[in-house]
Amino acid sequence: MSHTRRRRWLLWGSVGLLVAVLVGFNGYRHSVEHVRYMSGTRSPSLNCIPCHVATQQDGVLAGLWQEQYLSPLDVEVSRDGAKLYVTAEDSDLLLVVDAREGRLERSIPVGRRPHTALVTANGSTAYVSNRWSNSISVVDLASGDVVSEIQVGIGPSGMAFGPDETTLYVANTTSNSVSLVDLAAGEERMRLVAGRNPYAVALAPDDETVYVTSRLSRGLEFREPPAAEVTVIDVASNRVADRLLFEGAHVIEGIDFTPSGDWALVSLIRPKNLLPATQIGRGWMQTFGIGIVERDLREDEGQGGATEREQLIQLLLDDVNAFFADPYDVAVMPDGRYAFVSHAGADVVTVVDLPSLRDFVRATPADSLALYANHLGVSGHYVVKRIPTGPNPKSLAVSPDGRRLYLAERAADRIAVIDTERLEVVDSIDLGGPERVTMVRRGMRLFHSADHTFQGQFSCRSCHPEGHHDALTYDLEPDGIGLNVVNNLSLRGLSETSPYKWTGKNVSLYRQCGFRFAKWLTRTEPYAEEELHALVAYIMSLSHAPNRFAGVDGELTPAQERGKALFERDRANDGTPIPPENRCISCHPPPLFTNLQKADVGSKGPTDTESEFDTPSLNNLYDQAPFLHDGRAMTLEEVWTKYGGEDNHGVVNDLTKSQLNDLMAYLNSIGGAQHGVAVDDRAEALEEEAIE
């Protein structure tokens, strides 16, 4: 009997046994009551499976129910165009594909959650960034073995070779830095401070600068528009030469240069989080576009060298009545004719005609260009086609001859092949993922698709990149315009932290994502019941990344130990007893570090109508700034200093600065022990050095 058949027999046998038990012990009625109580809904099609089976990640049930998808994220083409190198995010693999035959050749295990693959010019070695292993896998492509692991910062994602492939520039997304790896020595040599959530990296054609995009805004003031950074690194000195800010934009995830290097093109989102969310049409929630770094490469006679005076331009790729959510990657043709942009939420690739775009930019006065950053009627000047793709299109790569564009269709486990003359998909490479679509997989597709918002304006992912958060605050409508602005929270690790919303009004994610969600946020039809079950199952399956601030077995550093004692203390520094309700651990008990109750911590602001808020979980707090219900605290420290009040949020006003530092050190480590990820002392030291 094949494995699949045996698995099917086991599955249905288990279901039959369960049904027999339920019937025999009148369990059906109790089960229905339980489902209704836990979900807060009376959905007739909701059963045990979404919560107790579909979301299981480990154990027997997971083995029976789940599939191991590949989820291709990044695709690279070899210099001769013969091979594709694809990272399979959900299977921890580097896939080697015969580009001409359209056939998977080899699967090479790498680190956890691989992101980007880079291959040396001679095709001998691949470097793969592993976001959850905080490392770069060095792969000998002849043998297919990982020959070494290079430790870098937290959450390495985008990478680029420096000139002559001597240095590897790595964006450490979670630790907000760029690692410079000496490839001859096989170790990290330097770490530079980047923007917040650095993501994509590209070397300019002149080999003089490296650009690193950022997803979030660094030091964003309360209720101010975002401004994400593109960090410019001077290759000769290995120093940050400039920090370019795209005002009003964030989630800059893709970058490519024109062949001459006069433009760097990036993908970006222009959110409208500061406006009352009373409508969607005309881009009242999100708009999507590109940014242009117009680089002046004229020789400066006075200095005797090339100078760069960048002008930043933003233009939308949306139309008035149709939005193209979540632009991800940018790829420019070798002849500079087209730039392609993948829209991960709209399942299309936009084709930008670069000569037309240049004409448009040249013919438009600077003040009008600034206005056009919010204009939905100009994309027709430079967008020549929208190419439909499979679900969740991500990374793009152009073949060296410019005739083929390869696209990772993440939610289909396929690579689309686009003819760059005909501008249409001409082939599809099956990477060998499972054919069956599980409930979680279906939910993953729904989560990343803008199909369920009015005019396709945004997906869940638009505000929750990778199920996390966008670090913005929103003014949602139901509780009044200008009132009760809320801090957008991460969706990771939510499965057991009911209730939801800052007000704690939703007992389940079924309520959170249900009818009212459609009425007040997506402004279109609510999800059908089966879709809602799948979406909730996917959200419940999202887990935190490994916490690098905690030790392998949960052991703490001396500072974290001292912070833990403060977190659990029952007496203030002067010996005064702290009432149980005002101790940190009372409201934030392990393992979730929330008591799932509402509390008044004195954070009510002038525009709030309530003073009690849901107690958030503290797991992986270290990358969840801003804090408090309305996101007014930019850092964890501000929670108890700038907004500390009168010891309403735990007794902390007696703490010395060093004690507060210890408390922060402990809080940053919360949620890490169970992942079993080692803290690399050397990497930590480099991190601290970069911050200084």
Binding site: R223, P225, G248, R270, P271, K272, N273, L274, L275, P276, T278, Q279, R282, G283, W284, T287, L316, V320, L371, N374, H375, L376, G377, V378, F454, D475, E477, I481, G482, F515, A518, K519, W520, R523, T524, E525, P526, T607
Partner: protein, 156 residues
């Protein structure tokens, strides 16, 4: 074909093709309420020329709201040009912008109204319809809306 039949005199025929049914959306109208709200991000943002003969349009400092029965009220604009008002629902009004002397800068607008419980937002007054709003907190929504009693003609 009908479009070629001289009897029918078809003008601008459109090819009807099968397509997915458009999605509906849930109304936010709450019939238990008697009023709705209207906020504008910048009343001076307009493609209409000012009614004055001055080449440079004076900056508006207020908007005047008029119903069929006359002036309902005048509401000062915030420094960023925003205003936020509550109106009797389903009651047509016209809006014009005013300068410091109370003279009309632009308008009055066509008749507009709000539905019960509706919160309607505008980017400007007769602004470019292809413009998406700028992402900033409108100053006017930092306070509760100014309530205009359309029946009484008073600002409360």
């Amino acid at each position: 074909m009908l479009d070629a039949d001289p009897v029918y005199h078809a003008v601008e025929p459109v090819v009807a093709v099968e397509r997915p049914a458009p999605k509906t959306f849930e109304s936010v109208v709450d019939t238990s309420k008697v009023s709705g709200e209207l906020f504008c991000l910048n009343a001076d943002l307009s493609t209409l020329p000012p009614v004055t003969e001055d080449a440079a349009a004076p900056r508006s400092v207020a908007v005047r709201v008029s119903s069929l029965d006359g002036i309902v009220g005048e509401v000062p604009l915030e420094a960023d040009g925003s205003f936020y008002i509550e109106l009797l629902a389903d009651t047509p009004v016209r809006i014009e912008t005013l300068d410091e002397d109370g003279s009309t800068v632009r308008g009055p607008s066509a008749w507009i109204w709000v539905r019960p419980g509706e919160r309607r937002g505008c980017i400007g007054c007769h602004e470019d319809r292809e413009l998406a709003p700028e992402n900033r907190v409108p100053m006017a929504v930092r306070a509760r809306p100014i309530v205009l009693d359309t029946n009484q003609g008073q600002v409360r």
